[in-house]
Symmetry: C2
Subunit: 213 residues, 2 copies
DNA sequence: CCATGAAATGAGAGTAGCTCTCAAAATCTA
DNA sequence: TAGATTTTGAGAGCTACTCTCATTTCATGG
């Protein structure tokens, strides 16, 4: 969620030899396509990169590319955070206040994301800011993140996850956090993301702080 | 903003005879294209409707359609609310508390939107919920609505509109209100939208209310 | 009222994302 | 090793969208 870099299935293909050859090959192909795309986008930019080129460099057919990814944007934008966050939220003690849980989980997710290749991370968030189609797809995923979050809130607080209140609450969190990652990307990833998220959650919890200047 | 139905340039072409013939024709063409699209979408659904069909029914060439609207989604989704809301916000007394202003302005916007053709309104919000491409485009416009809103907040509170805090605050409002209109559409537009917006703003201002059951 | 300039339109070609189908190739299972 | 199953490649096809250029339509000053 929030559009930060995702730790997309980082099995090395060599790992997990217990997986059948078929499965291992699939993982390898997925990675090959992604890698090809990242390289081409770095070289030529997003729009100038065609599926055909990606297929060629990944040594697969264009059909195969589409079999692995529904859209071009999805090749750069995979977010496995949602499930991860949901699990982590469930793992928090049930009596912990909700905002505290959320904070913990966000920090944890960031830590996991940081393990990822930082070059790819930055490329991805940059594309999010720069390429409308990518940002758009990202935002599209907000809806599903919102659904996930409201389910979590429902479980946690015993509220109806489909009530307007819970939905609005969840979506305002998602919106705020997404803005945070765009901010982070626009600042060239220079500030500490953890600190930004804390400030963002403060605003969401308590509204705008009194002016300081 | 918030994805509710927009009062898209509702001049009847006959109006404003002081406009040159050229201008009047342009307005007429715009309306013709929109009307054609609405009709076709109602008959066949969004995806089944092609630009060529729209052009044919509107009695213009496909090129012309693209000259008037950058994308197919934009034919159904025009949002002139942003500017309107910005103006209204500026018109509120400077010493009025921000949340109060926001509430007033939202209600006013809804009232204006209600003047629009309700059939078209409903069609539009339905498409927003049902057609991914439309929803996606809608969400894309959230970014610009967010920018507008943070500028307004900046003017109003003297804060830096580009600070993380203001940005997050603005975006959480936008996210919450967008969720509200999706909720409204999903409920078949049956609840009173004003009431929903009030509940949503309550949540955004004060967080989730204590449980009631 | 007409001639000249400017703007809007139409026709058409072209690109690329995405879908679908079907046959060939690769992997799994017995 | 044979047969069943899955994955892949090739290719045709659709449509959104872009660009170019000739033609038509409107505006305006004489």
């Amino acid at each position: 969620m929030t559009g930060m870099t995702a730790p997309h299935t980082s099995f090395s293909p060599a790992d997990n030899p217990r997986l059948g050859l078929r499965e291992r090959k699939k993982i390898k192909t997925r990675e090959a396509i992604r890698t090809a795309m990242y390289a081409l986008v770095t070289e030529q930019g997003y729009d100038a990169t065609t599926i055909e080129q990606i297929a060629e460099r990944a040594e697969v057919s264009p059909s195969t590319v589409y079999r692995y990814f529904p859209t071009k944007e999805d090749i750069v934008l995979t977010d496995e955070y949602d499930l991860l966050i949901l699990e982590e939220l469930r793992a928090r003690p049930a009596d912990e206040p909700w905002p505290v849980s959320l904070r913990h989980v966000m920090h944890r997710a960031i830590r996991l994301g940081a393990k990822d290749d930082p070059v790819v991370s930055r490329l991805r968030t940059r594309l999010m800011v720069e390429v409308p189609a990518v940002r758009s797809r990202m935002m599209e995923s907000m809806s599903s993140t919102g659904r996930m979050l409201r389910r979590a809130i429902g479980e946690r607080t015993g509220r109806d996850p489909d009530s307007l209140e819970v939905r609005v609450y969840a979506m305002s969190i998602v919106g705020g956090l997404m803005e945070t990652s765009m901010y982070w990307a626009e600042q060239e990833h220079e500030p500490d993301f953890n600190a930004l998220v804390d400030r963002a959650l403060n605003v969401i919890e308590h509204g705008l702080p009194p002016e300081n200047h």
